[in-house]
Structures are given as structure tokens and as C-alpha cells.
């Protein structure tokens, strides 16, 4: 076999191999996605057409000889043959032009393509497919789904293991950290955690509106912060019962319309946070409008499961 063919074969095989690697490398494979399929096909066509066209001309360099009638003129000794254009090239040029005209004048307006229309169809198809699937997702599967949302959306802030990356976001493996609790007792809280504007007053306001008298002492604050952060265990139960239980409930699990659950995460709380975002001592947590209801529920289940393990 001629060396050129061998080279052509090697190049083709390598490029096709690379294309295959890329498709597999994106783990999903072709995924039945028409765009993926067309792209892979186009890449294959690109390699085959180039390699074999070039081989054709290299063969002519190797075996053919230059011939034809020369033009009268020469430029700095460069001559010019009056050879006709290569037939295949001419025909293809004509064909593509005809195709272009047709596509633009007839094919295209008749189809009335719109990229937004196409998008709407895609989304509708996606939603029908997954709405059917979502219905059955509960329990561990829901948590698994939530983990997948978490890894795509939340890990940039909360970290791969949800540890909050050195305090730059909340550590979600525990319900609350002591410094957060302390901050909210000192300054109150106003993050629509109940879904609506329903702030928790600051340390002066817990019992009455006096601004210079705090019904809870600094020492008590430290104790109760540890108590809450430790999952409502240890010292401070008395302070909690006195100062906090009225709103957050004796067990800290919150009361509807009054105050949120500060003992454990629950799906509703996380969903509310995802709907409204949150601002606190650590920083800002954005709202996530673009997640759908099921995704929010799922990630809520996942986060709840993180601290529930202990």
C-alpha cells in the first residue's frame, strides 16, 4: 500500500478516536441529543472529507505531470496554464449556490424556523418527560436527586461537602453554628424565613421595646447560642425556655407563622430560603428562582439529611 494511504488511514483513525473520546469523556455520551449526534457526525465528515481530498491531490503530485496550454503573459517569470476548472469543484460550487438560494428563498421561509420556538418545544418535551418521572421520587431517591442539584448549583459556595468553605457560607452539616445564633440574638433576623416579612427582634426587643435594657445578659447569650448550635443539648435549656421557646417552640422546631425551626433543617425551611435568599453574619445567600419546585424540595431533603445523620 502506498505510504500516503497509510498516513491517511492513521490520521483518520486518530481523529475519529479523539472524537469518540470527547463524546465518551462527557460521560453522558450522545444521550439521544440531536445536537450531540449531528456534531459528532459533522466531526467525522470533516475528517474524512479533508483526508481523502488531500490524498487525491497528493497522488496527482506523485504520479501525474503538469500539462496544458500556457497563457501568453508571465509575471516575474511565473506562468499560468489555461486549464479548465476541475469539474468536481465547479459542479459542487454550483450545487451549493443553488442549494443556498433554495434554502434561503424557499426552504427557509416555508419552514418559518424560529430559535425561540425550538427552545419552547425543547423545554416542553423536557418538562413532560421529567414531570412524569418526578411523581415517583421520594425518600432516598429524592435525597439523591437533591444531591445532584446541590452539586450543580450550591457547591460553588457551600463546598463539595457542604462545609461552607472556611466560613464563607453556612456549614450545612449542622443546623446552625454558634456565631450565627449569637448574631441573630444580638441583631435580630430579617430574611423572610417564614415566607413573609416577619422579623425576629434584636436582644432589646425580645420582651419589650426598650432600647437600653436587655432582658438577656451577655453570658446568657453565649450559653444559649452554644445550646442551639449543639442541637438543643447541653447547658442553656433554661435560658432557651425563658427567652426563645415562646416563638421557636419548646423543642426549637418552630411554629407556623411565628418563628422558624432552629433545631433541625426541614424541607419547607430550605425551600423558603431558596425562594427568598438570606442575608446574615456570614454573608448573602441568593434566591434560586430558576430551580423548579421539585428541585427545591429535593435539595431541601438532601440538606435535611446532612445534619440528620448525626
Amino acid at each position: 500500500m502506498n505510504k500516503i494511504y497509510l498516513w491517511g488511514f492513521i490520521v483518520t483513525a486518530a481523529m475519529l478516536g479523539f472524537t469518540y473520546m470527547s463524546v465518551i469523556g462527557s460521560k453522558g455520551g450522545l444521550n439521544g441529543d440531536i445536537v450531540n449526534i449531528l456534531t459528532a457526525a459533522a466531526a467525522v465528515a470533516l475528517v474524512l472529507i479533508t483526508v481523502f481530498t488531500v490524498i487525491k491531490y497528493v497522488r496527482q503530485m506523485q504520479v501525474d505531470t503538469a500539462s496544458g496550454e500556457l497563457a501568453n503573459e508571465k509575471w516575474d517569470d511565473i506562468g499560468e496554464y489555461l486549464n479548465p476548472i476541475p469539474t468536481g469543484w465547479g459542479i459542487l460550487f454550483l450545487l451549493t449556490m443553488v442549494w443556498g438560494m433554495w434554502y434561503f428563498l424557499i426552504g427557509y421561509p416555508v419552514n418559518g424556523y424560529s430559535q425561540i420556538g425550538e427552545y419552547n418545544e425543547d423545554v416542553a418535551a423536557h418538562n413532560t418527560k421529567f414531570e412524569a418521572k418526578y411523581k415517583d421520587i421520594t425518600g432516598d431517591r429524592l435525597i439523591e436527586m437533591g444531591e445532584s442539584v446541590f452539586l450543580a448549583e450550591c457547591k460553588v459556595c457551600h463546598g463539595l461537602t457542604a462545609d461552607g468553605i472556611d466560613g464563607t457560607a453556612s456549614d450545612l452539616n449542622v443546623r446552625l453554628e454558634a456565631n450565627v445564633v449569637k448574631y441573630h440574638i444580638l441583631h435580630g433576623s430579617n430574611s423572610k424565613l417564614m415566607g413573609t416579612e416577619n422579623p425576629m427582634p434584636n436582644r432589646y426587643g425580645i420582651m419589650n421595646a426598650n432600647t437600653d435594657y436587655s432582658p438577656i445578659s451577655d453570658a446568657e447569650i453565649d450559653v444559649v447560642s452554644e445550646y442551639v448550635a449543639n442541637g438543643m443539648t447541653g447547658e442553656g435549656a433554661d435560658v432557651f425556655a425563658g427567652a426563645c421557646a415562646a416563638c421557636h417552640g419548646a423543642d426549637g422546631k418552630g411554629q407556623a407563622y411565628v418563628a422558624p425551626n432552629i433545631a433541625t433543617f426541614d424541607i419547607g425551611l430550605v425551600v423558603t430560603i431558596l425562594n427568598h435568599g438570606k442575608r446574615g453574619v456570614i454573608g448573602g445567600m441568593p434566591a434560586f428562582d430558576r430551580l423548579n419546585t421539585k428541585q427545591k424540595e429535593a435539595v431541601g431533603a438532601y440538606i435535611t439529611s446532612l445534619s440528620a445523620k448525626e
Binding site: M15, V23, Y57
Partner: protein, 493 residues
């Protein structure tokens, strides 16, 4: 008088060749450096994370790379050939007209001075952000002057010509001149804010006349055709002269040249829409961009085929001359990138390719394989004739060829894999219908490919240094050739 061979004057051409080598090295060095930065981000702060980091950072350096290779390396190369080829195919010497010499010298020195200002201003972060048109208005004016000087030299040489018919290369030089003039003027319509506001703020700052989608439309009409008329048509001009000249073969077909030229002129300008597919420009403009890109394959391939057929029956030359090798492989890469481009312009493919490294791969198989190789070959052909010396070392030249070829192959294959992988990962949904990957997952997978690309770029750069060395040694060697050289360039072992 008529019988004596003309003494051509290469002094302007030489200046441009020196600049091609100089800026070519800098631009590719920066390219290699930013390629390594993408593989190992700590290189961004190699001189510490303090004040210096501002100037060694990827995003500042990237425009320095693109602008210095395109407007420094490529344009200098193009002008070096213009001041060489122009005289020869028109049969006039620059020396015949004092005015032309002055124009040529001014052209070079104003260009050189502006380049220096551009480098400083880009380092300082003075940029309009428009790709390949980053320069602020004072530099736009400078560029206009430089361009007009080039135009004057074209008009001047043609005005004095003894050869009545314009050779094919000249068609392409003329088209380059006209198109870039038009693009540059329209894309850079901007209002200097310092003057408009009665003297507030930075004097160099300006604001674009176009907003949003319109601005994008004009910018990519410019951007696409800047590629066409800086990285394509002048390079076609170069190869149409140097390949037949070096090989001693006649151009395969005048008709093919003719159809390819006019076809390219007509079709290229419509294809810019392929840079804004799935954007907010109207669907029909996008479709137009895709359709014309596909048609564009043929006029592009027409020139490449014409070159390959010019070498018909001349395989022994391809095998023995590195200069011919550079040009034949250059034409091949031209074919590859002008098929790859149209394929990436198909909407479904662009949905994956756009925004990814596959585009970067496409850029560089064109830029390194086609543009770089053709310019390198042209300089190898010109230098021995200007200095009447044989090339210092053919072996070195051949080694350079293979090293750079390997570099290109590593570059475009790694970007091919990286681009397709990332494009598909962005689209992937998992079994729950959620996005399968967070963005960072699609960045970390690219690490090995970034390393391979950086190695490829380094090889290409090493080849380029060998090239500079070879040219330098050629220039400083003993004069051997007495008379005007014909065809094949003499090469030392």
C-alpha cells in the same frame, strides 16, 4: 535600459521582515505563556500577587497575544511580501521614485511606533473590549494613517507599472486594502467622552456609536471579515506568488483563480452571522451566516486546490524542499480550516462548538498551519534573494518544519477533544433532569488538554526560534550568489 534586469529595492521589505521575526516571537511567546497559564493558573502570579500580577495576568495578556500575532506578526509579514512581490510582478523598482520610498519608510516607521504605543496601552488595560479592534480612538486614527500609506504605496507602484495586467497576488492585496479600510472605519465609529463632556475623565476613552445587538452585528461583521482579509486574502496573495516562484511551476488554472477570487469576494462578507448564532440578532441574519459559510467552502478550496495542482507531478520537490513543504502543508491546513469553519457554522454544531476550545482549535489550525507556515516560507524565499546568500542550514529548516508540524497537531487535536467534551458536558442532564455538571466540573476535565496544547504551542515557538536563528545566520554569512536567483532557493547543509 529595457534589457538590463531591474534592481529592485528591498529596504522597506527588509524592515518589515525584521519586525515579523521580532513581533512574531513576542506574540507567540505570550501565546505560549497564556497557554501554560490555562494549564497551571499559579503562573498568573509568577512574579507575586502584588502590583505586577496585573500585568502577568491571563486576561491582560490574551489581547496582547491576539493583537501582536495578527497585527504585528501577520501584517508585517504581509507587508514584507507586498514590498517584495509588488515590485516584481509590476516590474517597477521602489528606487525609481523618491516619493514611493518615502511612503514606504513612513509606512513602516509610523506602524512601528504605533505598535509600541499599542503594547503599552494594552498593558495598561486601555481597551474597548471589541475583539481584534481593542484600540481606543487615538490609535484608530493612527491605524487609518498607516493604512492610507499602504494604499498610497499600492497606488504608486501600480501607477508606475510596466506590467500592464495585474497578477493574481495583486488582486488579493488590493482586496485586502479596500476591505480592511471599510471594516476599520465602520466598526470604530465612537465618540471620545473627554471632548463630548467638556474635558472630564480620561482623554483616551471613547464610547461606541452602536449599542447592544447592533454593536454585536457590526463588530462581528468586522471580526469575521478581519479574519478574512488579514488572515486569509493576503496569505492567498503570498502563496500565489511564492509557490509557483519557488517551484518553477506555472499556476494550474487561470480560470480557477478567477472564479475563486470573485467567489470569495462575494461570499465572504455574508458569512459573519456565524459568530452570533443563537444570539439576539434576527434569525434570518444567522441563517444567512450559516448558509453562506457552507457555500464559502468552494471558493476557499478553489485557491488551495489550485496550489496543490500547481505542484502536480512535482512530488520530488515536495519531498526535497522544506520551503515547498511549508507551503503545501499550509494549503492543506487552509483546506482543513475552511472546511472546519463552515461545519462549525452549522447551527446544530455551533450549539456545541461556540464558546468552547474547539473554536480556539479552528483558529490555530488556520493561524499556525496556514498563515504561519505560508509567511515562514515566503521569508525563507525572500531572504536569500535580498542578501544574495544561500540559506544557512537546510537541516535546521527541515527540523523546524517537523517540530512545528507536531506542535500544530498537538494544538488542534487537544482543542478538538477539549471543545467537544466541554460542549457536550454543558448540555448534559442527569437521570433526574438536572444539569449533570456544575461549571467547574467542565473546567477541571480540560486540564490534560490544556497541558497538551501548551506543549504544542511550545514546540511551535521552539520552531520559530530555530527559524529566526536560521535567518540570522543566513544574513550574516558570506555572500555567495552573484546573480539573480531563479526558482529553487539555494540551501546550505
Amino acid at each position: 535600459m529595457e534589457n538590463r534586469p531591474l534592481e529592485y529595492d528591498y529596504s522597506v521589505s527588509k524592515l518589515f521582515i525584521y519586525n515579523t521575526l521580532f513581533v512574531g516571537f513576542i506574540g507567540m511567546f505570550v501565546g505560549t505563556y497564556i497557554a501554560w497559564e490555562m494549564a497551571f493558573p499559579s503562573l498568573n502570579v509568577i512574579f507575586g500577587d502584588g502590583a505586577i500580577a496585573e500585568y502577568t495576568n491571563f486576561s491582560r495578556l490574551r489581547v496582547l497575544h491576539t493583537d501582536s500575532v495578527i497585527y504585528g506578526f501577520v501584517l508585517s509579514g504581509v507587508w514584507a511580501t507586498w514590498y517584495y512581490v509588488g515590485q516584481r510582478v509590476l516590474k517597477v523598482s521602489m528606487a525609481e521614485s523618491k516619493t514611493l520610498m518615502v511612503i514606504g519608510k513612513l509606512h513602516f516607521w509610523i506602524y512601528f511606533a504605533s505598535s509600541a504605543v499599542i503594547v503599552v496601552s494594552l498593558f495598561m488595560g486601555i481597551t474597548t473590549s471589541k475583539e481584534y479592534a481593542e484600540f481606543e480612538w487615538p490609535l484608530d486614527l493612527g491605524i487609518t494613517v498607516i493604512w492610507l500609506l499602504w494604499g498610497a504605496s499600492i497606488a504608486g507602484l501600480i501607477g508606475l507599472r510596466r506590467e500592464k495586467t495585474l497578477y493574481i497576488s495583486l488582486w488579493y492585496y488590493i482586496a485586502t486594502f479596500l476591505a480592511v479600510a471599510m471594516l476599520h472605519l465602520l466598526n470604530n465609529l465612537e465618540i471620545p467622552t473627554y471632548y463630548a463632556s467638556g474635558g472630564i475623565g480620561a482623554w483616551s476613552h471613547s464610547v461606541s456609536m452602536y449599542a447592544g445587538t447592533n454593536d454585536a452585528l457590526v463588530q462581528w461583521w468586522f471580526g469575521h471579515n478581519a479574519v478574512a482579509f488579514v488572515l486569509t486574502t493576503p496569505i492567498v496573495a503570498i502563496i500565489y506568488y511564492f509557490l509557483p516562484k519557488e517551484s518553477g511551476q506555472a499556476i494550474y488554472s487561470y480560470k480557477l483563480s478567477l472564479l475563486s477570487f470573485w467567489g470569495l469576494m462575494f461570499i465572504y462578507l455574508w458569512a459573519g452571522g456565524h459568530h452570533v448564532l443563537f444570539s439576539t440578532v434576527p434569525d434570518w441574519v444567522q441563517t444567512m451566516g450559516s448558509v453562506f459559510s457552507v457555500i464559502l467552502i468552494l471558493p476557499s478550496w478553489g485557491s488551495a486546490i489550485n496550489m496543490l495542482l500547481t505542484m502536480k507531478g512535482e512530488w520530488q520537490q515536495v519531498a526535497s524542499s522544506p520551503i515547498i513543504k511549508f507551503m503545501v502543508l499550509g494549503s492543506t491546513f487552509y483546506m482543513f480550516s475552511t472546511l472546519e469553519g463552515p461545519i462549525q457554522a452549522i447551527k446544530s454544531v455551533n450549539a456545541i462548538a461556540h464558546f468552547t476550545d474547539w473554536i480556539i482549535g479552528h483558529v490555530h489550525d488556520g493561524a499556525l498551519g496556514w498563515v504561519g507556515f505560508t509567511i515562514i516560507a515566503a521569508i525563507y524565499h525572500m531572504i536569500p534573494r535580498m542578501f544574495k546568500r544561500e540559506i544557512y542550514s537546510k537541516k535546521l529548516m527541515a527540523t523546524q518544519f517537523w517540530i512545528q508540524t507536531l506542535g500544530i497537531v498537538l494544538y488542534f487535536t487537544s482543542m478538538w477533544i477539549a471543545g467537544i467534551t466541554q460542549g457536550m458536558m454543558w448540555r448534559a442532564h442527569d437521570e433526574f433532569g438536572n444539569l449533570a455538571y456544575s461549571f467547574i466540573d467542565t473546567v477541571t476535565v480540560l486540564h490534560p488538554y490544556f497541558i497538551i496544547r501548551a506543549v504544542g504551542g511550545t514546540l511551535y515557538l521552539i520552531g520559530f526560534v530555530m527559524f529566526i536563528y536560521n535567518i540570522y545566520k543566513t544574513m550574516s554569512a558570506r555572500q555567495v550568489e552573484e546573480s539573480e536567483l531563479q526558482n529553487a532557493t539555494p540551501m546550505g547543509a
